[in-house]
């Protein structure tokens, strides 16, 4: 998919002819070739594709965690290929949120502190951060588990904490990797509605195998795996 030739607002994310290779000592494994996509504010994009087709790698590149091997990208006006790691880290902290398939919660922190980590890293006072986190946890139905550690929670509950952490500071770009994979159908719909409600103007890119989730997005990009 090519970037839109004309859009009213500056796109949140532009990836143009992106390629990415995994390189280890012995060999180079090509993962992505010629990927072009542009996402505008408020746009919701579903990435579909078979396992191993590089969907999570796209999210890594989009958030500046990986530099593309070839091509050009821009995130909120910052060049993804030439910005410093410090600039990209700052951009992630202030404008990008990520929901991981395996949640990536901090095992020694309570649900409340896990959700409050982003505002705390931004320098917000502890009480204010916790108030925001409490509100986000309340929205995802986890108000009764504030003091529990991840190991004391079910997979679905951990996933809701991860979602609360992503929503807490209202990012401009949400990158979600199977965000509802551990939730039942009713809760899945409820959570997707909540994400859209809380982040009405944010760009959302979600990787999902669930056609119901993909159907709630405004656009779908299918990643093909080639030999």
């Amino acid at each position: 998919m090519s970037p839109s030739p004309h859009i009213d607002e500056q796109p949140v994310l532009v990836l143009d002819a992106i390629a990415y290779d995994y390189v280890d000592r012995r060999r180079t494994v090509p993962v992505l070739r010629n990927l072009s996509v542009s996402v505008s504010p408020g746009e919701r994009l579903a990435l579909l594709g078979p396992s191993g087709s590089g969907k999570s790698t796209i999210l890594d590149i989009a958030s500046g965690l990986r530099r593309p091997t070839a091509g050009w990208g821009q995130l909120l006006g910052h060049d993804l290929t030439s910005s410093s790691p410090g600039d990209l880290a700052n951009l992630r902290l202030n404008s990008v949120a990520r929901i991981y398939q395996d949640f990536q919660l901090f095992p020694r922190l309570s649900a409340l502190d896990n959700a409050a980590i982003v505002p705390r890293l931004k320098g917000m006072p502890k009480k204010q951060s916790r108030d925001l986190a409490r509100d986000a946890l309340n929205r995802v139905g986890m108000a009764h588990r504030l003091d529990h550690r991840p190991s004391q929670l079910s997979g679905g509950e951990q996933q809701r904490i991860a979602i609360a952490r992503a929503l807490v500071t209202e990012p401009l770009l949400l990158l979600a990797d199977e965000p509802t994979g551990s939730l039942d159908a009713d809760l899945r719909d409820e959570i997707v509605d909540l994400i859209i409600e809380v982040l009405p103007t944010a760009a959302i890119i979600t990787v999902s195998h669930d056609p119901e989730v993909a159907a709630r997005m405004s656009r779908t990009v299918r990643i093909e795996r080639t030999a």
Partner: protein, 350 residues
């Protein structure tokens, strides 16, 4: 809760304590070798190499050989600690413990030359006309340090003549030239010895005819040499030293590797959220450095106790500090580049 605090919260204390104990054990081995190899007994070999003996039947005239330094060797002076004694007495004869050691007397006017002569074997303080100098073994025996007061006594025809003087310096443990004499040494200016002398006593004049004691090293030089390859290390000490430092380096590498692995998951998530890489690196580095420095200090304290107990060497505070700094510096040299690599790896291993 800031990123580094989150990282600290995720350090496994049990693993950290295990690494600390292991580092202290190997550090003790290395520090022991360094402290031990830095010490050489001020024995008759070194002493005789610099001194010519000239027997006289009366107290010697001072410096009657042009350009030479003359010392008077007195066969025996009793030494005792004059405080904290079991009987609470104030005279040597009241005490349960005293030791007879040979003594060397010098003319205070020759203080510069005397200091030059003993510079290589000086353990602490400065030879001073207002005080006496003891060898370390004697000082250790009575728990004396520079600045303490010591009791000296000479047996004369008129009985035991006693004086108390401050200790101004310590020299390395001393074995006198003749095996029949007891070990130990007191060096004192003639102005302090004269009041104890009974008439025209008999002494031995020893004349020093060359510049500093050949082959002798200052303590700092000796520690430096032990750390960076002294050519005169015995094979045993060299092997122990190499083993100690080698295991110390391996232990540090292992500790920082374990730490990075320990924190990898947490650090990856923090980096993905937006914590700058340098903060992750600095946190790993500070924890690893703290571990290395704590282990170095503990190891040196343990090894100093071991050397003191086993070899009766009198370990000075500055020696302990020097060896601790050497171990800590070695730790830093290992930890800084390795923690940098480790933090980069944990970011790249997504």
């Amino acid at each position: 809760m800031t990123g580094p605090v989150v990282l600290l919260r995720h350090v496994r204390i049990a693993d950290l304590v295990r690494d600390l104990v292991m580092l202290v054990l190997v550090g003790t081995l290395g520090a022991f070798a360094m402290l031990f190899s830095a010490r050489s007994t001020f024995d008759k070999v070194i002493f005789e190499a610099a001194l010519d003996y000239e027997w006289r039947s009366s107290a010697p005239a001072v410096s009657d050989t042009t350009g030479a330094l003359t010392l008077e060797q007195v066969s025996s002076v009793s030494v005792a600690r004059l405080s904290d004694t079991p009987t609470g007495g104030s005279r040597i004869s009241d005490f349960e413990h005293s030791v007879d050691v040979p003594a060397l007397c010098y003319d205070p006017a020759s203080a510069t030359q005397v200091n030059q002569l003993f510079a290589g074997v000086l353990a602490d303080g400065v030879l001073d006309a207002r005080g006496v100098t003891l060898d370390e073994a004697t000082a250790y025996r009575f728990g004396l340090r520079v600045g303490d007061e010591v009791g000296l006594a000479v047996s004369t025809n008129a009985g035991l003549v006693e004086r108390r003087y401050p200790i101004s310096a310590l020299v390395l443990p001393y074995l006198p030239p003749t095996a029949s004499q007891s070990s130990g040494l007191v060096i004192l200016p003639q102005t302090l010895f004269e009041p104890m002398r009974s008439g025209a006593g008999t002494g031995t004049a020893v004349t020093y005819t060359s510049t500093p004691v050949p082959g002798a090293l200052s303590h700092d030089d000796a520690i430096y040499s032990a750390a960076f390859g002294a050519p005169d290390l015995t094979a045993f000490v060299g092997v122990v030293l190499a083993l100690g430092i080698g295991i110390w380096v391996i232990g540090n590498v292992r500790a920082v590797g374990e730490l990075a692995q320990n924190l990898a998951g947490c650090a990856r998530t923090l980096f993905a959220i937006g914590l700058p890489r340098w903060k992750i690196r600095a946190t790993v580095l500070l924890i690893a450095l703290g571990l290395g420095i704590l282990a170095a200090i503990s190891a040196v304290a343990a090894s100093a106790g071991l050397v003191t107990y086993w070899a009766s060497y009198y370990i000075q505070w500055r020696e302990t500090v020097t060896v601790a700094v050497l171990l800590a510096a070695t730790s830093a040299l290992v930890v800084i580049p390795f923690s940098r690599r480790a933090s980069r790896q944990l970011e790249e291993s997504r």
